[in-house]
Assembly symmetry: none
Homo-oligomer: 240 residues x 4
DNA sequence: TATGAATGAGGATTCATTCAT
DNA sequence: TATGAATGAATCCTCATTCAT
């Protein structure tokens, strides 16, 4: 053993420590991801009530107790999935902002992205219902609920910017863009939620399909937003 | 024993039976009503998960077992409240049909009724979320789910008729009235649902209030439905 | 590498080792003390069942695993507090032995010390209850239980010496001093234990206060021990 | 079928109902007794911590849930055993009151009964330790703790009456009988508790046996209570 | 029909202890 | 030696549902 060797060791240690710390961080994150994935699978399949922590634990090859190191309760795990879903949606919506299109076309694109997201992840919408149950609410820290809200706001922000853009460019009437964004967001969400709610609605009676319904809602909204002009008749036709 | 004896008995019984049957029917209905009332109180206050059959039983002074004579499961009891709510809403909506107004004004009235109903019974909207949970679904007979759907259809029927009337009277464009009714129903419902969902949404960020939001959505919808005419500009102003 | 090198190293190490060993010893003792202090705080506040190793670890800024390097189990940690308490009591009692007083006065002093100790550390008495639970006992090494007993014996030894002194000096009757010490010890201990046991006893019903009760018990005991008057013969008979 | 028959039936029903009610009462009581018996067996053998509700349930051939119909928690079940023990002791003590003996002799008898009780049921004394743990306390209704206290007071009442009798008959000095009863009760209890506490104490070091110890304590107490000779004045001064 | 005692599977959560680093 | 993440058995308790009366 030489001093150099020792120093090397010292050097290596520092490197090792750094690596260790990094790995720990990565492992933590991955562990959390593993749990979320497993939770997603089970909650999506079984719903909240019938899902057991045992099953989630089995699904990610961890001990049940380990889950509680990462999530305070079954409810928090559930709400975390909601946060996850809103994050994914936000990311998808953000891909629109950069496109070089007119505001009204951007809204159309938004709808496309939204609808595509729904088709990829219909279950995320089902998840959102439970958060309003008072008994669930009680068992989730405010902090987490706030995060949830923050994600939703980020989504609405995308809409907000498009409406502002339309207003600036003169194709939208001067409206309170933020109120308008909320209305659009709520409406889209509400329609999907309602639609998703019930297979009966969806399959047997409501022969209108979801995409059409959303498009129609958008047309109506655009009808309200757009500054009417000679092209009005053309639009009217497509809005049937 | 003779046939006459039997018939005599039969005759006597028939009166008694009739009375008994009537009383039974009345008692049954009332019993069922008592249970529903108690369930309503508890479910509204505690949510689905935290409500216990014991508490419901206590609330209607019946034995727990008795409830199961009238409702197959906790879930059926819960969904029955949804049926109840839709029935009440339908009744309220039906008070509109008879008014002698233009179709567009009728839609405005509908919204008023709807909103008033929501304000009286906000909890009914919260109830509806859970029905989409697969584990709840599994424990409710199709028959009951159908009843639920039927009530919703009856509500939409009111909208349908108004739209048809508007189309007939020439103030609405020729649209598929049924599709349109569904869109309006879904949108209104969706918005309220979404709004009701979350105190956060309601109180802190979404400074738009619900009634405004619904009115705006209706304006947009009317914008799409109404046959444009010189009065368009006037309408545009009010739709801001 | 040469032997000299090794020896050199050995020599250097020996100094270092000595220092290290000393420091280690000191650190070890302090570590153990830290843990005990934290355990004391938590156990005293929460009781045995509700105390968690996590909380103790947090209280002494050590990792949970580290505690297990110093104490084999939660139970040993608990019993160690009992040992600690008996050690403190023994030390207090030992301050009496040196006083130049009559045996009967010494016993009075003992009582004062004892009572003062109880008032300073009432919680130590509460701790002692659990040691009799078979499930606790099973999880503590005999060695530690013996240490516990040893401390108690040291306490009784103080009593024993006083009684022997009294016998030698002729003011106490000739009794088996050791038996007598045990009786006194057990009685005092028992009374305090019983008193400490239950807030109900203490506050509402038993209006006799503890010190009075102990004094009375001592008077009784002294009545039995003292040779004080002509009536001695009569009493001696009955006091077997 | 005759009217008489029907009336008979009516009569029988009332009888049946009476019988049913009685049987229900008896069954309830027995059920509760069954549970207590099983709990006694398990708690006595294993201690509080290692006892599981499952094991208790198995021991009385009832479902776990059933136990909770009769006892609110594991802790209440445990404390109920304490109540039971005090009740048994009280009953034993009450057999003394009727004897036609002098007060001092009665106290001797009391001790005999007490000691016999301890020998029959040493485990009841071990049970009493846990009640002072704050975490146990928290989980027991005040009502039950009061019942516990009430039983203890009933026991002390026996002592109280004996002392009063002794005072009345002139063989005891005029003391506050209730205070005195409490001291005697606490002392006896304390000694046994202390003795029972620890097999080590009992077996290896403390060669004094329990009965001797109790007798000695009683002698001392009697020494303090009895007015027995001319030297009384002298003693009275020191025993104040 | 009404009861409500009994059920017992099932659940979430805890926490003393271990062990790889 | 110190760590603290992971463990997973163990625990108490709940509560929808049943069924004998």
């Amino acid at each position: 053993m030489t001093v150099g060797h020792l120093m090397n060791i010292g050097g290596q240690m520092s490197q090792t420590q750094k690596r260790t710390a990094l790995r720990k961080g990565r492992e933590q994150a991955q562990r959390k991801g593993d749990i979320l994935r497993s939770a997603r699978e089970v909650f999506f399949k079984k719903g909240f009530l019938s899902t057991t922590m045992d099953e989630i634990a089995r699904g990610c090859d961890l001990a049940k107790g380990t889950i509680y190191l990462y999530f305070k309760s079954k409810e928090e795990l559930y709400i975390s999935l909601m946060v996850e879903g809103l994050g994914l949606l936000r990311d998808d919506l953000n891909t629109i902002g950069v496109l070089d299109l007119q505001a009204d076309q951007l809204l159309g694109e938004i709808l496309g992205v939204y609808f595509a997201f729904y088709q990829k992840n219909p279950q995320y919408f089902r998840i959102m219902f439970l958060s309003s149950q008072p008994d669930v609410r009680e068992r989730v820290r405010d902090e987490l609920m706030q995060e949830c809200l923050g994600r939703a706001v980020e989504c609405m922000q995308v809409l907000n910017e498009i409406i502002e853009k339309g207003t600036r460019s003169g194709i939208f009437r001067k409206v309170d863009s933020w109120s308008c964004a909320i209305i659009v967001w709520t409406t889209i969400n509400g329609i999907i939620t309602q639609y998703e709610q019930d297979p009966f609605y969806r399959c047997e009676i409501l022969k209108v399909n979801l995409e059409e319904m959303l498009r129609a809602a958008l047309e109506l909204a655009l009808g309200g937003l757009l500054i009417n002009n000679p092209s009005e008749q053309g639009k009217a036709k497509s809005a049937s």
